[in-house]
Assembly symmetry: C2
Homo-oligomer: 321 residues x 2
């Protein structure tokens, strides 16, 4: 069994070290290479490899699927960064910031098509794998749309928020595991339990991301600290704060949402503290983490084989198991 | 054998009349429906159906492929219109003009993914069909990139231009025919000849499009007349005019390229006339048309079966066969 870091290393060597993009047109492919080589945690492709290794040695189909998943993820990042007007990604300028908007659109497009080029090379159960991949791809886009829809709504509930992040973030983590497992010959039951594990892990992970965007340190995030607050993003923290706030606190939140001054971030952080939404967010992280671990427990392979997945989940959630 | 208009009608009834998009999120799917229901000539999906019908009755795989091709084409239109800042498409506002830029990006993305959802449903030779589809998709994006690269270059040759439009426009027409033929059980030789037919037809078609954008009537085009001239687009007309212009004429072209006044279009049209680039463009249309018809001639099926393709090509090129 390989550890997370061993699989990251192998994935980097096999895929990132030998990216499939040709030299020309360089204005198309240079930005694609730029983003993929900036790093990133490679969680999604490695989840696919780990899902595969649960049932045997990592096979060629899983390597193809892992590459497809990493490419698809990067495609969504490129376009989401344009839509979110994000200046930084992985601690460096986003593609549209560095190369311009049209490069951002087209590099995203070609990265998506290369994702399909990889997933199309899968030999085992290709129609079923494509069906799963396509459903995930649709859901990720729907999640992004809901995320944007929420920007102009003032009545977003916590349930709607969880639904949105499930689509936008979790189904890709879940699907990575499931596709890896399918390609390893998993039963449908085991593949579905892994999907549930990944889905809840993804929700926990995103809620933690919300937390860290507000309360984490900028140099570790690789992006602007408080970016969500500055953008008035309706994160779990903000929605929960609004839900539990007193009339006075709501007035404070409303007030700060209309401002764009440098003291906006610390002021909102104080409001999150006062309303207890920071604690609620961490509790929600624990709730979904536990659901995730329960599903993993149910997967019918030996505990030893599941060890790398436990370790990865624990690492991702900075959670003492 | 069905005629072009019969196949258009059938395609409209089967696919456009029952689009696969769900109701929600409506901000994602309404714009997709909007564009697909605006019409368009449906040339690409019908070429796929015609390529299929050359070898027998149109089968289910061909219907799936035709839908995939129409969706893919619409995806490229949506994103190209953003990059080209085009206000009109099919005589109506473009998606980004009507719904905003982020809608344009995300609707394009989901339309591309739905294209893959359809092509994934093909039963016959799925890996080979996907490989063909993916190669075309990559080339279309590369063509769009070259098109944008040309905007900032002053040394684009006619050969480079033909290469660009081959990628951006022709390979999708060619690939539509080829995939339809493959799904009809065509030999590799016949499928390749149909590809050549479609490729040259596409080049001729694009060169004619250049011509009509400059010399056609706005109400028939469904887009701004002289849009290419206003955008300083390096079309065949402009490149050829530059190539053959006298020093005096070159000065005139250079001068007008820097202006943005209402008399720019008629002035450039005069320069195209004076340099003979309008005639050269029409001759090039005829040259590539002839190559296309020669390839179609070589396809080893009875002349009668090829009749709808001849008629379509003739109609597209407004050419007396």
């Amino acid at each position: 069994m390989n550890s997370f870091s061993q699989l990251v290393k192998q994935f980097e060597d096999r895929f990132v070290g030998a990216l499939p993009f040709p030299g020309q047109p360089s204005n198309l492919y240079d930005p694609c290479r730029y983003l993929l080589q900036l790093g990133g945690k490679r969680i999604r492709p490695v989840l696919c490899l780990m899902g595969n290794e649960l049932f045997g040695e990592v096979n060629q189909d899983a390597w193809h699927a892992a590459a497809a998943i990493e490419l698809f993820h990067n495609f969504t990042l490129i376009h989401d960064d344009i839509m979110d007007k994000a200046p930084l990604r992985r601690g460096n300028p986003t593609i549209h910031a560095k190369y311009g908007m049209t490069a951002g659109i087209l590099c995203g497009d070609i990265t998506c098509i290369y994702a399909y080029q990889y997933i199309s090379q899968v030999k085992m159960e290709l129609p079923l794998v494509l069906k799963t991949f396509n459903r995930i791809a649709v859901e990720v886009c729907e999640g992004q749309q809901l995320d944007m829809d929420f920007e102009s709504r003032n009545d977003v509930t916590i349930d709607e928020y969880i639904h949105m992040i499930t689509l936008k973030t979790s189904v890709l983590l879940a699907g990575s595991l499931k596709i890896g497992a399918m390609l390893g010959g998993a039963t449908e039951g085991n593949a579905d339990k892994l999907y549930e594990f990944g889905k809840n892990l993804g929700i926990a992970f995103q809620l933690q991301d919300d937390y860290l965007d507000a309360f984490g340190a900028s140099d570790k995030l690789g992006k602007q600290q408080g970016g969500d607050i500055k953008a008035n993003k309706k994160t779990y923290l903000l929605l929960k704060a609004w839900e539990t706030a007193s009339a006075h606190q709501r007035a404070g939140i409303t007030d700060w949402l209309q401002k764009d001054t440098h003291d906006k971030v610390p002021a909102m952080l104080s409001l999150f503290n006062e309303t207890g939404s920071d604690t609620a967010c961490r509790e929600a992280v624990n709730y979904y983490s536990q659901k995730a671990f329960d599903s993993l427990e149910d997967v019918a392979v030996t505990a030893k084989r599941k060890q790398p997945l436990y370790e990865l989940a624990t690492y991702l959630l900075q959670r003492e198991k």
